[in-house]
Structure formats: C-alpha cells, structure tokens
C-alpha cells in the first residue's frame, strides 16, 4: 500500500518542531508499524536526508520503549498493543497517518519522536522497590502464604512496562495509572506491605514534583494501555495514600 505520513520533526529539545509530510510506497500489510518507519528511514538516508528518530528496543511488546502517537491515539488504533506490535493491516492504501511524539510537560521531546521518560524512572526510584537482604540468606518467598486473588492482582499490576501511553493519552497528562500499578504491585503482597506507607507517599510526591496532572477518571489510560492495567489500581493507590495520611 501507498501512504502519506505526517510526522513531527524536531532537531533537538531546544528547537521548535513542525509536522512534515512524507510518502512511502509498497508497504506490506504484514509489516509492523516500526518496519514501515524503517522503510521510510532507509528512503530518507538514500536521499541524504536526516532519518526520523524514534524509540524502540525489543520489538516484541515487552520493553515499553516504542512510543508514538498515531492518528490521535497512543500506539495507534489497535488495542492491547505497543507500536512495535501494531500491524500495517490496520491501515488502508492511500491513508494519511499522523505520527507525533508522546506529549506531556513531564515527557519533553529529545528529538523527533523520541521523548525523555526519565521522570518515570525517578518515580520508581522514589519507592518502586522493596528493601530485602540479598546476601544469600533470603527467605523462600513460597513459604509466605498469599491469597490467589492478591497474587493475581499483584501480577497483573506488575505487567506495566512503563511505556507512558497512559500519560500520553490522558487529557490531564496524569501518570496515575503507571504509579497506581507500581504502588499496587507491592501493596498487595506481604513483602511490599512493610514499606507501603512511605512508598505511596514518596512515589506520589515524586509524581507531583515531575509535573504530571491530576486524574479526572476519564478512563482513557486503561483503554490505551498495552497491558490492560485496570483503573482499580488508581483507586487502590488513592486508598493507600489516604491510609498513609491518617
């Protein structure tokens, strides 16, 4: 298929960017979206132009690096996937596709479609861990009884890959789905309960400090999240913070 691409080009974090039109031809419907971008970049390199910078790593939906806001949606029109898993069969011959970086004040553009998501890392560092002795004398985790429900919910929360689609999608650029997932993952398990109070306080404080917005429960994040992280995790984080504050 032949496509017109409208892509955000920005030289570096301090330059002003703009949308630029490109044409790609003979795109196979079996290609992934990133492979289509590779075709475009090869074309640009051959004509001596600067290729479009975009984030990617695993290309199998587990690392969370690939970002991109495609036709007005994080990771494009499909559900439960990252951009590397988005297939070109979701588009038609002759389509115009708008491709933008994830937008949020806390995700500044580094170049073209690459954004700086280290704000997520700083939130993680503020409390997304448990302090255990790893000297070799660690207790066998299986010796602690955990309910199946809690184990499943913790596991579901832990599938968050920190991609930032929730923030990019949110009209308030709120990071609460991400932080909610990280808080929940530990809050549900006995090993995490020990530091639960400081964890939620510190992670929420860091989230606010990074300049993410306030959730208004539109639910857009849950729909666009590649891992189907549930809004229940935000409610749990709110409960945890209330508990930690009384």
């Amino acid at each position: 298929m032949n496509l017109t691409l409208k892509i955000w080009r920005q030289k570096d974090s301090s330059s002003k960017g703009q949308m630029v039109d490109y044409k790609v031809t003979d795109i196979s419907e079996h290609m992934s979206f990133l492979e289509m971008m590779d075709v475009l970049n090869e074309q640009l390199v051959n004509t001596g132009e600067e290729p479009v910078a975009f984030d990617h790593d695993c290309r199998e939906g587990i690392c969370g690096m690939c970002s991109m806001y495609i036709n007005g949606e994080a990771h494009g029109p499909d559900r439960g996937i990252t951009t590397c898993q988005l297939h070109m069969r979701m588009f038609k011959d002759g389509d115009t596709i708008t491709i933008e970086p994830f937008r949020a004040a806390a995700f500044p553009v580094i170049k073209d479609l690459v954004v700086d998501r280290t704000s997520f890392e700083r939130i993680q560092q503020a409390g997304g861990f448990i302090s255990v002795n790893t000297s070799g004398n660690t207790q066998d985790a299986n010796s602690i009884p955990i309910s199946k429900i809690a184990a499943d919910e913790a596991m579901d929360a832990a599938t968050c890959i920190g991609c930032g689609a929730c923030v990019a999608t949110c009209k308030n650029s709120s990071a609460m789905l991400f932080v909610g997932a990280k808080v929940s993952q530990y809050a549900l398990l006995p090993q995490g309960r020990v530091e639960a109070t400081e964890r939620v306080q510190n992670m929420v404080a860091q989230m606010d400090l990074e300049g993410f917005g306030n959730c208004t429960n539109t639910g857009a994040c849950e729909v666009e999240c590649p891992k189907g992280i549930s809004l229940d995790n935000i409610a749990r984080m709110n409960r945890e913070l209330m508990k930690a504050s009384v």
Partner: protein, 225 residues
Amino acid sequence: MSGFFKSSIGRKVAMALSAFFLMFFLLQHFAINMLSVFSPDTFNEVSHFMGTNPLVQFALQPVLIFGVVFHFIMGFILELKNKKANGVNYAKNNGAANSSWMSRNMIWSGVAILAFVVLHFIDFWFPEINTKFIQGDWSGTMDGVEGFRYYEELVHKFSNPARVVAYVIAFVFLALHLMHGFTSAFQSMGSTAGRKQTLQNIGKAYSIIIPLGFVVIALYHFFNH
C-alpha cells in the same frame, strides 16, 4: 494530613467530597421543589421552615455556599494544573476513541452550571437575603398574597419563557456533568464501586432523573399559569 490535601490525590479526594455533598444537597432541593407541584401549601410550609430555621440559615447554608465555591474553585485549579501538565498539544487527538465526551468536558459542563448558579442566586437567593437580612422581614408573607409568599414567587419567576429556557439548558449540562461525575467521585475516593454495574446504573438514574425532574417542575409552572 495537611500534606495530603496538597497532593494531587488529596485534591481529588477533596473535590469528590464536595461533589458528594452537592449531590446530596441537590436531592434535598429536588424533593422540596417537587412539593410545589403536588402541594403548594406543603411547599410553602417547608420553604418557610428552611428559610427561617436558625440551624438551616446559619449552619447549613454557609456550609453549602462553601461547598459550591470550594468545588468550582478547586475545579478551576485542577483544570489549570492539568493544562500546564499537557505541554504541547497534539496536532491530531482522537479523544472519542477512549473516553466519553462528558468525562473530557467536566470543566465546560461545570462552567455552564456555574453560570446557572449565578443566575439562580440573582433570582432567588439575593432577594431572600435582601428581604430577611436587610429589610428584616422574617414573616414569609407578602402584600397581596394570602398565606406564605414562596409559592407565588416561584410561579412568578417561571412565567418568563427566557428564564425557563435558561434553566432547561443548565439542567442538560448538569445531567452531563453528573453522568461522569457521579461514578467518578467514587473512584476518586478510592472505591472501585463506581466501576461496578450497580452503581453505574444508580449514577445514570440519578443524573437523568434529578435534572429532568427540575426541568419538569419549571415547565409545569410555566404552562400551568
């Protein structure tokens, strides 16, 4: 605890608390107004009680005013903060793909309600304050009207078609605001109940029945007199 209400989540909880209070108030207001359709005498009695009871006037009324003002000021603060968190706007953004119109436009339905609240205060609240606190007339009566004046005043207000239209439009926005707000408030309070079918149904019923009821009351008085 003071740190809690300065956090993003604390602000949302405060927002939800004020919203719960407003929704409870609305229910009470609705019940009293309904009386004006079924029994003008009872409506007069209850209005006089509400208008002259010291507990209502000096305790509940200030709390209500505070609740309304707090809710919309906090609404504006959150909206400004969220706009700042956005950074650059998308050239193409398909919000309808993942969220309801109501949820994305709470600030606009809120602004419409605020405009109505201003009109409503000019219509009913300021004249009441003037009569009672400035002229010192707590009798609840009026020249040329037998018994209490409240029903007559209400009917008089709704004889103006422009006012009736403004009220109807405002209640449409109130319905839209509540359609998202009702369940949203539970989520903000950390409860997942708002995501369950039961509460979604109750929320839908509340956000349609209450505003529709107010509209019916306004239309009833307009066409009946």
